[in-house]
Structures are given as C-alpha cells and as structure tokens.
C-alpha cells in the first residue's frame, strides 16, 4: 500500500498537484484564489462607481471635493485596514465575550498563509485585499449623504475612525465569528454589515450637519439638481459591475454552482429594482425620473446582498422589485422630515439594507434564518453604528467644526477646500437656480 501511494504520487502528483494533507488540490486552490482576486478588483471599481455617482448627483461647484473625498477615503480605508481593521474584524480570539477582539497591528503571514492550509478559497493576502476593499465601502457611503457642506478635514477624520474602528468591530460580530454569528444572524455579503453600517453613519452625519442652504424653503423641499447625469449613470453601472464581485466573491471560493447562482439572484434583483423604481416614479411622480431609476438599481442590489445565496430566483426578483419601490418612497420621506441627503445614500443603503436583511427572514430557503434574529441584528448594528457615528460627528462639531462657511458653501467647496474647479472652461454661475 505504501509503495502504491508513492507510485501514485509520481504518476498523478505533478509539480503543482496537491499532497495528501491538503483539503483541496493545488489547481482548485489556485482557481478559487484567482476568482477571489477578480472579485477583489471588481469591488475596487465600486469606489469609482461611488465617486462618479455622487459627483453626478450634486452640483458642479462641489465636484472636485467629492472626487477628492472618494479618492482619499479608499486610501485611508486600505491603509487603516492593514494597520488594524483586519485584525479587529478577524481577531481569531475574542476578548470581551464575543464582542471585541484584536489580533495586533499590521498584516503578515508565514508560508502557510499562501497555501490552501490557510483557506481552501484564498491566500492570506487575498483575504486581506478582499476584506479591505469592503471596508472602504462603508465609509464611502457616508460621503454622498454629507456632500456639498461638510468640511474636508472633519470628513476625513470621522471616516478614518469609522473605517478603522466601528466597521471592523461590528463586522467581527458576524463575519469574525462573534456573538451575532453565534446567534444565527445571517448576512451573506453585507446588507447590514456593510451597507447599513454606512447608512447609519450617513444618517448621523446628515442630522448633525443640517440641510444644504436653499434645500428647504418655507417648509418645502426645493430640488438641487445633480449636475451630470451621465456621470451618475456611469456610477451605477460600475457599482452593479462591482457587485458581481461583492456578492460573487462572498461565496469565498469559485464554486461553480454557488457563484453562478449568486450572479443570477444579484442581477435579477437589480433589474427588478430598476423596474420597481421606474414604475413607482412614473405613477407617483408622473414621469420616470432617471435619478430614481438609478437609485432603484442600487436598491435592488443592496436588497439582495444579505440573501443572495439563500433565496430562490423568484424571491430575488420580488426582493429587488420591493426595494425599488421602497427607495422612491424613502427618498420622498427623508425630504419630508428635512433630512437632506443629496444622493439618496440613506434610502439606498440603510432603508434597503434593512429590507434586505429582514427579507432573509422571510424568503430564505434555510429554515434556521428567522425574521426575529434578523431584526435583532439590524437593531444591534443600528444602535451601535448610529451612536458611534453621532458621537464622532458631534465631537468634531464641538471642536474643529464640521460645516463649511456660508460663503464657501455658496461659492462651492471646490474653490474653498481645494482651489480647484471641476470644469473651468464652462464655469457656471454659482447661484443654484435652474
């Protein structure tokens, strides 16, 4: 028998073939890892999607500022995640019950980290990269909601705190194997753990900042039109593209059946979100407003993120369609209560993030997913994130201030914060009238 073993190794065990101790062949490990790297660059491109969507839906005098925020945030996100976020989110051992753990500063691995002994689906480095791209997402979501009035330095500080501390701790509760995971909470790719986290931060920021000048006059909302709709559309398509990696990569391997199924539910939910939002806008607002359709697409994507692998194809269409309807009413509702969110980030990421998480409790094919536990997760994450974000913005407001001066807001943050103009060749008057 032993001889035979040796012989067989010679025969089958080419250079790259796995050895007996391995959980998967070297080939399978490599293809899994390659898919995870593809997913990583797809999630990366979502940051360009956010940058273009947010700048497209705001005024041209604040465009440079938004682009700068989105470019810087991903840098800050990646670096702080390397420094501490990764080890806060995946601490291995928890210190405080299953609420908090920390595996130390910096990233490093031994040889084993690049074999399937680390994980059958990816190397240590791939793991870090994929997770780091997610981390930056949560902070970027905030950026759209607080646009056109927040001071750059305050935004950067609060974001760094959020991405380095709040996001990883909350994330560890579920994906790091913490108490929410133990409780049976399910969130496949982060309707709650990523999108709602971003949404709660956005909500706190919007409350403390107040609305943009001229947004609400005598109790009525006055629209401030997005300056560049092709840019916004590019943003949404890139986000959709990135979502193939966001959800598809959350399978954590290249498993053919699972990844392709997740592609299907994700795509159909986005499509249904578009139709849901378009129909709603056409019926309720009389015309199919493009910005609502774009929000509808993202609503469908956020909605399906919690359950992409665990609901049926039919359910994915329903989830997306409802998300598309929800997002339109949510945008209108936030305007009613004078919470000024220029790009609809809270409606997309918070409202539909909650919806998607609860939808798992309704539509999941896995009977262990219950509505109640899902609700618990939503609430726990909500209370924590909102409180932390509120506190950080509040401290900043008391200290260095979070809002630019009236004159700078009127003139535009591009000149005020950066000395730049986004379109100097066709500089518009800065009055905001149509």
């Amino acid at each position: 028998m032993k001889t035979l073993l040796a012989i067989s190794f010679i025969l089958c065990g080419f250079e790259s073939q796995a050895w007996a101790g391995d959980p998967v062949t070297q080939e399978m490990f490599t293809i899994n890892n390659t898919w995870m790297l593809v997913a990583t660059f797809l999630v990366f491109i979502m940051h360009l999607g956010f940058a273009t969507l947010e700048s497209g839906l705001t005024q041209s005098k604040n465009t440079v500022n938004i682009l700068c925020k989105n470019t810087t945030i991903i840098a800050i996100g990646l670096l702080t995640y390397a420094l501490m976020g990764f080890n806060l989110m995946y601490p291995g051992d928890f210190a405080l019950g299953k609420f908090l753990g920390f595996a130390g500063f910096g990233i490093a691995t031994d040889e084993a980290g690049i074999t399937s002994a680390y994980n059958v689906g990816y190397t240590y480095w791939t793991d870090f990269m994929f997770q780091a791209m997610f981390a930056a997402t949560a902070a970027t979501i905030v950026s759209g909601a607080v646009a056109e009035r927040i001071k750059l330095n305050s935004f950067l500080i609060s974001s760094a705190f959020y991405v380095a501390v709040v996001y990883p701790i909350v994330g560890s509760w579920k994906w790091g194997g913490g108490w929410l995971d133990a409780a049976g909470f399910y969130d496949f790719a982060g309707s709650t753990i990523v999108h709602s986290v971003g949404g709660w931060g956005a909500l706190a920021g919007v409350i403390l900042l107040g609305p943009r000048m001229g947004k609400y006059i005598k109790g009525k909302a006055h629209p401030i039109l997005g300056h560049n709709m092709p840019l916004a559309t590019i943003g949404v398509f890139l986000l959709w593209l990135g979502w193939f990696g966001f959800n598809g990569g959350s399978v954590l391997s290249a498993d053919a059946g699972m990844v392709s199924f997740v592609f299907t539910t994700t795509t159909l939910s986005a499509a249904a979100g578009i139709i849901g939002a378009m129909s709603t806008a056409w019926i309720v607002l009389k015309k199919p407003d493009l910005s609502m359709i774009l929000n509808g697409c993202l609503a469908g994507l956020v909605g399906i993120t919690a359950g992409a692998d665990t609901v049926s194809v039919g359910a994915s269409v329903i989830i997306g369609f409802i998300a598309g309807i929800l997002v339109v009413f949510s945008v209108i509702a936030f305007d009613k209560v004078k919470l000024d969110d220029p790009v609809g980030a809270i409606s997309v990421h918070l409202t539909c993030g909650i919806w998607g998480t609860l939808a798992v409790g309704i539509f999941s094919t896995n009977p262990q997913h219950t509505f109640f536990i899902q609700l618990l997760g939503v609430a726990a994450v909500g209370v924590t994130c909102f409180t932390m974000a509120f506190l950080s913005f509040w401290v900043l407001r008391k200290t260095i201030g979070i809002r630019v001066s009236e004159e700078e807001e009127r003139e535009g943050l591009d000149l005020g914060e950066h000395g730049n103009m986004a379109y100097p060749d066709f500089r518009p008057s800065t009055g905001g009238h149509v």
Partner: protein
C-alpha cells in the same frame, strides 16, 4: 446709429440670420440668455420635489445699424422670428453714439 436687440427663440436664429443677410446686414453678436415672461415655464419634479423651469432659454441678437436701416431690419427680424406662439420675444431699439472698428480704428458708420 441704432442698436437693435432682439430676444428670440433659439431655433429661429438661422432664419433671422438669413433674413438679415438678405438686406445686407452681416454683422451681429449673439448671446445665450434666459427669458422670463408671459410664456410661463413648466413645473417638473426631481426626486419627488417640485421645481419650476421658469427661465426659458432664448437667444439675444445685437446689431448696430445705420439709423435709416432700423425699420427694415426690425421688420425682417419680427417676420423671421415669428411663430405666433407666446414667448416669441421682443425687439428693443436704442441709440448708439459712436462705433469704432478695433482693427482699423474707423469710426461711425464705416465701423459697422
């Protein structure tokens, strides 16, 4: 010399230009302006909130002509720019005291 300022609907520009060419007027300056008047704008909805597009794109044509020419020019413009619908615009006439051609320094009628 007189200055004629005509505020017209943008798509009528080519017609007006040709009409003026016919009577030998070949110099003019145009500006993209927005007009507010009897032609009410329309209400639109963006992200659920109403707004009024009440300043409507127009073209302003300015021509400086010899005083004798004014009536003819005004008639031509009025004819060419007319659609019979509200918002067709206005023509205003005022006095110009002097004109100078930058290139040559010529003045008065010679300059235009």
């Amino acid at each position: 010399m007189k200055k004629i300022e005509a505020i017209i609907k943008p798509f009528k520009l080519d017609d007006v230009k040709e009409a003026l060419n016919e009577i030998g007027i070949q110099g003019m300056t145009i500006t993209e302006v927005k007009g507010y008047g009897r032609q009410k704008g329309h209400k639109e909805i963006y992200r659920g909130a109403e707004y009024v597009v009440d300043f409507i794109p127009k073209i302003k044509i300015e021509i400086v002509v010899d005083s004798d020419f004014v009536n003819q020019a005004v008639d031509k413009i009025q004819e060419a720019a007319n659609t019979g619908k509200i918002g067709d615009g206005k023509i205003f006439v005022s006095s110009i005291e002097e004109a100078i051609r930058v290139r040559t320094g010529e003045t008065g009628i010679d300059a235009i």
